[in-house]
Amino acid sequence: MRAAALILLAAFAAAGTLAYAQQEDRMRGTVPVADETRPPPLRNPENKDVRRERAYSMQPPTIPHKIDGYQVDLNVNACLGCHSRGRAPVTQAVAVSVSHYMDRDGNFLAEISPRRYFCEQCHVPQDEVKPLVGNRFVDVDEILRGAPGAPAATRK
């Protein structure tokens, strides 16, 4: 029994190593793990100021503008300088939604909730690049459209 388990384990390990050797790492390319890769230069984020579609209703919207040098720390939150409830009318930015004033128990706070203070945890700028990792996400609208019995062209 013990011997059989050991052989099985060895077989798995061998198969794993083989698979690893064959698969080219999307980030590292074929550079061996021990060597340092040369990452591509940073690019400028898209800065067209056109709000993008959300893939699902509770998705944090992606940022349609550059955020270079915007200070978000203990002292200042530059994002709120435009996106807070009070500033939005002047800057014409989208005011942060009510969820940003809620704590985890669903209580509404007077100030931005601490768990929503560091905006870039959830919101990020975008750039036109080839994704490193494939994604098979399907929008719920598409699923509804494709569902059996769904009347044609009900949505969108």
Binding site: V76, A78, S84
Partner: protein, 199 residues
Amino acid sequence: MGGLVDLAKRYWATIWRPSRHFSLAFLVLGGFIAGVVFWGAFNTALELTNTETFCLSCHEMRDNVYPELQRTIHYSNRSGVRAKCPDCHVPHEWTAKIARKMQASKEVWGKIFGTIDTREKFVDHRLALARNEWDRMKANNSLECRNCHSAESMDITRQSPRAGNMHSAYLFTGERTCIDCHKGIAHRLPDMGAALKSP
């Protein structure tokens, strides 16, 4: 008391008595040359203290503000134009420059050498120092920024819509000036209280 007044009167008379030994031409020329030399030295000193090297010769600046500037667009950008400390902190016009220098010497001796010799003290004073600059730039309509940038030569069709909208709504109408919206463009901002955090 009367003796003093007498003495003063005597000196006054001596100063204004025509010279016995030097010709008028010599005196005028000499005075002129001395004036030029003094003026030159003065302006040279002014120029010397107007370089970034001078600003950074004191470690408070080199350690606290300079590394922050190095990460901003005013240090390195696609155009290869660098804004140096005096570009933003010393007015170019002569009278304003002198006024600022006098104020700066107070800052230099009083604030820097006396009170701001550690990072902690710098952080403590930072809001006050920043307020000084904001007030000054607000009062002179962001003159230092306008030495390089100007609203007149801005082509807002080439700016991002966000920038263009704000500039045409508030800058071109004269409602606000650069520093109202572009605080912290060259340095990290101090704790500004609730102003830039909440509602």
